[in-house]
Symmetry: none
Subunit: 421 residues, 2 copies
């Protein structure tokens, strides 16, 4: 069954609002196994909305509309949808009462235009709105089902969750499930090359790669009559990905981030960590502290942006700075060793580089970033050359630093080969 | 002139990705005075993309496409657009060289599928991609102009900024100019209430508010036959905003960020600064280090996530921690004083709070964040109560900390009243 999404709102066309409703509704529809081939955004303009509805009806069997159900003159989604399906608007007593109660509860004055929201297309199913005055509407014709939802996410989401999801679930014989296998330490092209055969030959489940900053995510998606049957289809493909990528995989859970995975390793091996950051200036610590509970393992971190700070806080010998410069493997390693000692931790991840836009030389160009991870007496050191803006270089440095931290833990504690594999 | 946006990507239809590109491009087109009536999203499916392009060509004169320019098998935007306009794909030598250099610089292996990205429709204008391997493309026919952009925002945004915006600007007979008056330390509703008369009555120039994390941006946009005439229209409105918001305005330049404005103040008054962060864990330092050249004024920063670290690195008395707790105005102030002393700086911005999701109590709920700024003997302390997720709370804390840092400098050094105005 195909579903199509039409978001109505001039604010979306002007770029004032990011369309989070689209991502939310799409994800739910994907979960339900509904195929969505098109999403559209159109302004509060009945003529253009009508054109779009007529086009969409030809290609999709369920249309979900959001927005344009408000009380003002330019909210015309309901009127237009009813016209397209040839339905009259009639007042819904329950809707009228709900509007009255909603406004009374909040001590707001009901204005004449509020009553417009109690009008619904004849024969439609009315969806109760607990967070606003615009009821949602489901209209059915032989050709199409139209689901009209209010635009504000705090009204749309609970209405979808409680009333639309169960409605769509009933329509759908199949279930779609997916797993997200996340990799770090490999580029998108290399990852894809390794699984081109799977991407090309698999139809159920399918495998699709997504490039993220410093990571590649592989989604395995299966369609089946039950959740169990779908995961049974996914399992052998996931095993195959594990065979091919090994320890580059840090999770198969879409909600787990790289810093979450590192946190789990710290917990498993009871390791403490600190950060010693030059060009990333606090962002590596900032990422690790995304994880609630990390305080047990990360107690402090150092932003050592100047040479003086590297000497003072991390005890980097001034001779190293003089001889090799602040951006060198020697300095990165001295920062890592010194940071771990200063903080009394098992691990220290250190980053030093030239984020630009100035400060580069021919020998040490902008984007040259050294990082070193100290882990219980061992050092893991890496040279990276990035390009792009200052913020890009810093962002990629943070991702690489977390990847290096993860692999240092795995190699030195669990004695698994992962770095540079 | 009408522009239409088509975002290509199955990840958008599956709800894996929020379509921030759409908001970004729409906002830019609105700035340019281009009318956008439709946005669409379609998957990596050449048949459906072709249908959509044929429909869009009939109703819009400029089509902007994003996504589907990657090296993989399912990236087919370029191939499909070229087919619709009847153009052959030919290898672009410069694009091939850029891909080669990009991959070499990063020490990555070039795989066969990378070369697909060097193919461009004959006679098209190639847009250089400094942050990735997919070049952008502009194709022109009598009927339509098509602009193809890579999907990842870090590639799309600089390409749009530097190459597409100037191209579109040239197509427009009227000139649209705007200034972005940026405020910190005031909420969106309060800001809007103060200028409701301007928003409602102005037609040229217009004033529109945009809510950003911890900031409000007011865009003044004027349309005129020349740049000078446009800025002449803008000037009196900007003066009016200055009268109404005073020192809450930190810039009128769209490219200047709050951390840039702070950098200018540090430079002007020759002040050094350090950071002492608990719940924000490095992100305040990370923001300040966004500014190239900040190293002159920020030499080091402290991530003091545990009580021990607050005592050890910032010399916070253990009695204060015991008596008032880590999340208290007293601790925030002791962190600020101690941080400035440890780093030997004029200023220290300190943040301590409960980012959640756990750790809250009735008296100190999740989202309670204290911050204090030490500035040459004076202390500026603030209590904030945020709501939302852990990352939301941390993000808002960072924005408030920068706002407090700015106002501490202005009040204590330039003796201008701004904090809490």
């Amino acid at each position: 069954m195909t579903v199509e999404l039409i978001c109505v709102g001039t604010e979306l066309l002007l770029g004032n609002t990011v369309n989070t409703n689209a991502a939310y509704i799409s994800e739910k529809c994907a979960m339900l196994g509904l195929s969505m081939y098109y999403q559209s955004v159109v302004g509060d303009n009945p003529g253009r909305l009508k054109d779009l509805l007529l086009t969409a009806m030809k290609r999709s069997s369920i249309l979900i509309l959001s927005g344009g159900l408000g009380p003002t003159q330019d909210d015309l989604t309901k009127e237009t949808a009813a016209e397209v399906l040839g339905k009259k608007l009639v007042e819904d007593k329950a809707a009228r009462q709900e509007i009255e109660e909603f406004m009374k509860k909040r001590g707001r004055v009901i204005t004449e235009n509020n009553w417009k929201q109690a009008l619904v297309p004849e024969g439609s199913k009315v969806l109760y709105n607990q967070n606003g005055t615009a009821p949602g509407i489901i209209m059915e014709s032989d050709q199409v089902k139209m689901i009209l939802l209010p635009g504000p996410p705090n009204e749309l989401i609970p209405m979808f969750e409680e009333q639309v999801f169960p409605y769509l679930y009933e329509l759908q014989p199949d279930i779609i499930c997916s797993k997200m296998v996340k990799l770090c330490g490999i580029g998108e092209s290399s990852a894809e090359t390794k699984i081109l055969d799977l991407i090309e030959t698999q139809t159920n489940p399918t495998v699709a790669p997504y490039a993220k900053t410093g990571e590649v995510h592989l989604r395995i998606t299966a369609k089946a009559s039950s959740e169990k049957a779908a995961y049974d289809l996914i399992a052998p493909v996931e095993t195959e990905l594990q065979n091919r990528f090994g320890n580059l995989i840090y999770t198969d859970d879409p909600n787990v981030t790289l810093e979450d995975a590192i946190y789990e390793l710290l917990k498993e091996y009871n390791l403490t960590v600190t950060t010693a950051e030059s060009c990333t200036g606090g962002l590596v610590a900032g990422r690790l502290i995304n994880v609630p509970g990390i305080s047990q393992f990360l107690k402090e971190g150092y932003v050592t942006y100047s040479n003086e700070a590297k000497e003072k806080l991390l005890n980097v010998p001034s001779e190293i700075l003089k001889e090799h410069g602040a951006v060198s493997p020697q300095t990165a390693e001295a920062m890592a060793v010194g940071g771990a000692k200063a903080a009394g931790t098992d691990l220290c991840i250190a980053v030093t580089g030239i984020a630009g836009p100035d400060g580069g030389t021919e020998q040490k160009p902008v984007g040259l970033v050294y990082m070193s991870c100290y882990c219980k007496g061992k050092l893991f050191t890496e040279k990276n050359q990035y390009s792009g803006s200052r913020s890009k270089i810093r962002e990629y440095s943070v991702a690489s630093a977390l990847t290096l931290l993860r692999c240092a833990i795995m190699e030195s504690v669990s004695e698994v080969n992962v770095c540079g594999s």
